[in-house]
């Protein structure tokens, strides 16, 4: 086992449960995200990744459990916390008929970014999309709009970044670029990143720590390498499929079934 990270915990979920019509989309979920860490939430469609993220953003209220960011209770300090955080998802968009710079300028002002024009130019450069500056947001390709969304998510130099399937619907080349950018952001901003995906390549390359979700429960957790070894699988993909199909996996280190279906 790796030694526990001594760095600051910037996001913490304690016994988070979220029910929808009596079904637990998230079941006694616990998480600690440290500064400088990329934590991957992995799991099949419907495993509860987005629900977890929405709860952590205060978009969805948990049925029970507690959430803290930067050591403060989330609902009570929502605005203060959101100023230091940001979010991007493959499933949201910026207003389609605005130009790219207009959208980014509006959010730069909302996040009270100093020197917004410079910051926007810097980010567009970083994403290699400076040429899209004056384009209509709704006319961008999936890869381009993902990167514009990422620009939005980095405007305020967040200390906490939540990315929900940032590489969904991207071609391998752009997905690769996005992964490189995520790593670069982590080292430049020393922020904590929560990353959901069902793309194994993403996870292997980007995440320091993994949590496998199945039906709202964490069924396995550790470094990617660790998880592969402990489950006597050859690849993460194997682990994923095993968990997705029967929801149980034998943890070789403890010889116990971590979850019932």
């Amino acid at each position: 086992m790796p030694t526990p990270d001594p760095r600051e915990v910037i996001l913490e979920a304690r016994d988070l449960t979220r029910e929808f019509d009596g079904v637990k989309a998230l079941d006694a979920f616990n998480l600690k995200l440290h500064r400088g860490q990329v934590l991957g939430l992995l799991g099949a469609n419907g495993a509860g990744k987005t629900t977890a993220m929405n709860c952590m953003l205060g978009l969805t209220l948990p049925t029970s459990g507690a959430l803290f960011a930067f050591g403060k209770e989330l609902q009570a300090h929502r605005i203060e916390i959101l100023r230091r955080a940001n979010f991007s998802s493959a499933y949201t968009a910026l207003p389609a008929n605005l130009l790219v710079w207009q959208n980014l300028l509006v959010f730069a002002k909302i996040y009270r970014v100093p020197k917004p024009k410079e910051r926007i130019a810097e980010l567009l450069e970083m994403m290699e999309i400076s040429h899209l500056h004056k384009r209509v947001t709704g006319q961008l390709s999936a890869g381009e709009s993902t990167r514009v969304n990422l620009c939005k998510a980095l405007l305020n130099k967040p200390e906490l970044l939540l990315l929900d399937e940032p590489t969904a619907s991207l071609d391998p080349d752009i997905a690769d670029k996005v992964r490189k950018i995520v790593l670069r952001i982590r080292s430049e901003l020393n922020c904590g990143i929560l990353y959901t995906s069902h793309n194994m390549k993403d996870i292997e390359e980007v995440c320091d720590h993994l949590m496998f979700l199945h039906k709202g429960k964490v069924v396995m957790e550790g470094t990617p390498k660790d998880i592969v070894e402990r489950s006597s699988s050859s690849t993460l993909e194997d682990v994923f499929i095993k968990i997705a199909r029967d929801g149980e996996i034998v943890d070789e280190t403890t010889k116990k079934e971590e979850v019932a279906p």
Binding site: R18, F20, T50, T51, N54, L57, G58, L59, T60, L61, I79, E80, L82, R83, A85, N86, F87, S89, Y91, T92, A93, L94, P95, A96, N97, L98, L99, Q102, L105, V106, F107, K109, I110, Y111, R112, K152
Partner: protein, 266 residues
């Protein structure tokens, strides 16, 4: 409350309007069509009857223009919210450090701006075509205007709350809600014309009724009815507070039900 955040949100709506000229057309086209039709109709009736009619065209045009104040203010709030739903931008706004009051304040500003555009155009058209001078209402225009705008904001929050409650399928409520109260607030006819009489109690409980009655009084007698103004202002305060509470309640309920994200990603 942060002024910078409100400004940023208003800037977004300004970008939206300048980027989509069709929205400006909508802001001008319908009110003008309505005004022209009502204007011609009253002119026609006037020519074919005798009596008190000259004053009636003045009442009708004044009423039309003031009704539009309510409607535009309501639309400013409700349509601004829908714009965020349609553009799948709602999540970005709700995960940004935007307080709900700041969001509402921005939509109120949009309502105000929409009113300015529509009123200016209608005032010009009415003056040009029917020599109706909106300023015959004199300085009474300002308190009328403000009271109606506040009523519009309250209706806007109610519309948005209903859409939050029943989902995007109910989005046509954004246009319908003002018309739920239109028959009762005596826009085009005096309260005394409303039958049966007990319905008039409902009418007097609604703030805009006092404004429209007051408008007719100014046009008829030239005297500004202060009692009507204070009734309208007092009732507006109650209505705005109640509507705000309904909106906050629905927003919390939507968060609790986990449906806010459904809105944003549909």
């Amino acid at each position: 409350m942060s002024l910078a955040v409100i400004q940023a949100l208003v800037l977004r709506y300004l970008f939206l309007y300048t980027r989509s000229p069709m929205r400006l057309v909508e802001l001008i086209f319908w009110p003008v069509v309505e005004l022209v039709i009502w204007g011609y109709l009253t002119l026609f009736i006037q020519e074919n009857t005798t009596g008190d009619f000259p004053r009636i065209i003045v009442f009708l045009l004044g009423a039309m223009i003031l009704w539009d104040v309510i409607f535009r203010a309501q639309q400013g709030v409700a349509i601004s919210f829908l714009e965020d739903v349609w553009t799948r931008n709602l999540l970005n706004v709700f995960v940004a450090p935007v307080r709900t009051v700041e969001y509402l304040a921005a939509t109120f500003c949009v309502g105000f701006l929409r009113i300015l555009v529509t009123i200016t155009v209608l005032g010009l058209v009415a003056g040009f075509m029917y020599s109706f001078n909106i300023f015959t209402l004199g300085w009474a225009l300002l308190p009328f205007f403000m009271n109606l705008m506040v009523s519009g904001w309250a209706l806007g929050m109610i519309s948005t709350a209903l859409i939050l409650r029943w989902g995007q399928a109910a989005e046509s409520l954004a246009w319908a809600v003002p018309f739920f109260i239109q028959p009762f607030i005596a826009v085009f006819y005096p309260v005394s014309a409303i039958k049966p009489e007990w319905v008039q109690t409902i009418s007097w409980a609604l703030p805009p009724t006092h404004v429209f009655e007051g408008m007719r009084e100014v046009l008829k007698t030239g005297v500004f009815a202060w009692d009507k103004f204070f009734w309208a202002a007092g009732l507006n305060l109650i209505f705005l507070t109640a509507a705000g509470m309904v909106f906050f309640y629905m927003l919390t309920l939507t968060r609790r039900r986990g449906l806010l994200t459904k809105f944003a990603t549909q």
